[in-house]
């Protein structure tokens, strides 16, 4: 007999619709007189929102992950990129993305339909969060015939050392970027739409963090495989009202699950977290852990904080309150941009680029507050950025008293993930944690 009640998420279908509509809207934007832009999931997407409601984006990392999930297509994309001369050890999202352009095939396929040509973006709006991001869209622009590109440099140091000068530097680029958007698209920029988009960004990110906090409950109401399908909406369009509203709806549902002890894993008896992007083509590993060991992955710094925004100092790791909840009213363009820059630069997942200690401290706090038995670190060969310092993180987490298992793989290149070896390693880890087998 199961230990806990389980139930499907009521908001699940809505999440799927938002994601499907996102890719459809991007593809169909030109048919409706709209515009298409491309950029990373970390980019300041609230800014192009000021161009109008018919301007749609495709964010690169979730698009690369979407391709990775389709193994046959991903293999073709990776081979196309390699055949074009791009090295196999580059970011695998990037190689999937470039391959999709080279093959001229769109990664989003409607059920029962043929794969369509890749919808070419009208411009690129990007920031430089890691070295791959810095080059990614230079190549995209080249491959797409020289589409205009605007990049923002955000390397102004870790948040606790960010100076006014650093914020000014980022805001200055944003202001230049708005001028560039107007010139490039020929559209008049709407500051009120920018202000709304900044409010939405903060609301999406704070609410997602609040949802993650609810996973401190035992049994956990969500498991990480499901969370991937939910947090991703923020990586697509965190500045949209639709996503911000959805997270509030989801939060209410997860609160209800906690109150009624509705579990994600019906026989939860062990709790772990992972790290970095998972090998997207092999998410069934999470099902294996749940079915065989009653082990729930409650999330990770990656799922919590790529989109979620948190306060993370003095032994705290709590959702960051939105500026609007603190009585801040955005007055004009510059004020909105300043709030946006300060808000985004504080996100936990931006910090470890500067020093692994930031990430270690946050991970240890999560391990304590979310009551974990162990930690599973993905030595992800597909992402230099998020794997940066991960071996240091392992040592720090071990030092803090939490057992750690590592596994090697690649988020977007299935050729570098060995499923049988990984499940064997999970078996060894569970055995070492004295977690009894359920099946």
């Amino acid at each position: 007999m199961a230990k806990y009640k389980i139930a499907p998420l009521k908001t699940w279908q809505r999440a799927k619709e938002i994601r499907a509509n996102y890719y459809r809207d991007y593809e169909a934007a030109h048919e409706k007189g709209g515009l298409r832009w491309a950029g990373g999931a970390w980019t300041f997407d609230a800014i192009p929102a000021g161009l109008g409601d018919d301007v749609h984006s495709i964010t690169s990392e979730p698009y690369g992950a979407t391709i990775a999930y389709q193994k046959e297509f991903s293999d073709r994309c990776l081979e196309a990129a390699e055949n074009a001369g791009y090295a196999r050890d580059l970011c695998s999202y990037m190689r999937n993305y470039w391959g999709s352009i080279l093959l001229d095939e769109y990664g989003w396929v409607e059920p029962g339909e043929e794969r369509k040509p890749f919808p070419k973006p009208d411009f690129v709006w990007q920031d430089h969060i890691c070295c791959s991001h810095a080059k990614w869209y230079q190549v995209v622009s080249d491959l797409e015939g020289g589409i205009p590109t605007f990049d923002i440099d955000v390397a102004v140091g870790p948040y606790d050392k960010t100076t006014k000068h650093g914020i000014d530097y980022v805001v200055g680029q944003m202001l230049d970027g708005i001028d560039w958007l107007e010139k490039t698209t020929g559209r008049k920029y709407d500051d009120q739409k920018l202000i709304e988009a900044v409010y939405n960004t903060c609301r999406s990110e704070s609410t997602w963090a609040e949802i993650c906090v609810l996973n401190q409950a035992v049994p956990a109401p969500l498991e990480e495989k499901t969370m991937y399908s939910l947090y991703v909406l923020g990586t697509l369009e965190k500045s949209s009202q639709e996503v911000a509203d959805f997270y509030e709806e989801l939060k209410a549902e997860v609160e209800e699950r906690v109150a009624n002890k509705i579990a994600a894993v019906e026989n939860e008896q062990a709790r772990v977290m992972t790290d970095t992007q998972p090998p997207w083509g092999f998410l069934r590993v999470f099902r294996y852990m749940a079915a065989k060991y009653g082990c729930v992955s409650i999330g990770s710094l990656y799922t919590f904080a790529l989109i979620g925004n948190w306060l993370w100092e003095d032994g705290k790791f709590v959702p960051r309150p939105t500026p609007q909840s603190q009585g801040v009213e955005l007055k004009d363009r510059e004020h909105a941009l300043r709030v946006l820059a300060e808000w985004e630069l504080s996100k936990p997942e931006w910090q470890h680029f500067y020093n692994p200690k930031y990430k270690s401290d946050m991970m240890i706090q999560i391990a304590k507050d979310w009551k974990l038995d162990g930690v599973m670190l993905h030595y992800n060969r597909g992402c230099e950025g998020l794997s940066l310092g991960i071996a240091e993180n392992r040592l720090a987490i071990l030092e803090a008293g939490f057992p750690v298992m590592i596994f090697e793989g690649n988020m977007g290149d299935e050729r570098e993930f060995d499923e049988a070896r990984t499940t064997a390693r999970i078996d060894s880890f569970m055995e070492s944690l004295s977690i009894p087998k359920l099946t």
């Binding site: 071990l398 060995d418 070896r421 078996d427 060894s428 055995e431 070492s432």
Partner: protein, 257 residues
């Protein structure tokens, strides 16, 4: 209580039959395509040596990469768990267990109760496993059994830079062309492999005493290189390739945790 431990490894199937901690019999068969047949053959050999019938064996636990193929097994343990159980039974003072098999190397850190605290696995590179020495012996046109003793006669360390079995073979060929004596090349092979294993073991922290198990623990050249690299003596059981099977048999009997 008579129990059996079956270790279905990448290259060999090994069986231990034990009664209250005393080994009654062993069986070993080279693994081929028909794993079920190999398991039966090894089990029959172990039963014959132990002088007991299958019916007298109360519990069978399986371990090894092919443990799921043991249809008769009452339960299974991972290689990490079985290695730790077997090694700690033989050497209670061991805190680090290094298992170097045909296709995989493992380092396991255990506490004073024999519980696994941490482990590392070198699973994607033949340079840290027995297959590496086999390939190098072939390149040197030597029987594998002679590679270890020959390397002990070397008095000169020849550096091998390659950390990959494929590139190492090219390097061995270059050394042959440079007229480097075979004994020095043999030592270089073992030194490179020991370096790889030591690096893996240091990821979990090398705490004395160190116990070396697995088929490669029968290679005196590798043992010599590993001792030099770790800068410490190493405990080696009489039948190092059977320790994982022993661990499984002891776990089946409830003698090990």
């Amino acid at each position: 209580m008579v129990t059996a431990g079956i270790d279905v490894g990448a290259k060999n199937v090994k069986i231990i039959i034990q009664d209250n901690g005393k080994v009654l019999g062993k069986g070993q068969v080279t693994a081929g395509f028909d794993t079920a047949s190999d398991i039966k053959e090894a089990l029959d050999a172990g039963l014959a040596e132990a002088g007991v019938t299958r019916e007298q064996v109360e519990t069978i636990y399986a371990t090894g990469a092919g443990r799921k193929e043991v249809k008769d097994a009452d339960d299974s343990y991972t290689e990490v768990g079985a290695d730790a159980a077997g090694a700690i039974y033989l050497f209670p003072s061991a805190r680090t267990v290094i298992d170097v098999g045909a296709e995989e190397g493992r380092a396991i850190k255990v506490d004073e109760k024999g519980k696994v605290v941490d482990f590392a696995i070198n699973e994607r590179c033949a340079a840290g496993a027995g297959a590496f020495t086999e390939a190098m012996a072939r390149a040197l046109e030597l029987p594998l059994t002679e590679l270890g003793p020959l390397s002990l006669t070397s008095t000169r360390a020849v550096p091998m830079n390659a950390q990959c079995a494929v590139f190492a073979e090219s390097e061995v060929v270059s050394l042959i062309h440079q007229k480097t004596p075979k004994r020095d090349i043999a030592r270089a092979v073992h030194d490179a492999m020991a370096s790889r294993i030591t690096s893996m073991a240091r990821r979990v922290g090398v705490e004395p005493e160190v116990c070396l198990i697995g088929g490669v623990a029968k290679n005196p050249g590798f043992i010599d290189s590993l001792k030099r690299d770790l800068e410490m003596e190493i405990l080696i059981p009489e039948d190092p390739e059977f320790v994982s099977a022993l661990g499984a048999a002891l776990l089946a009997a409830g003698i090990a945790n």
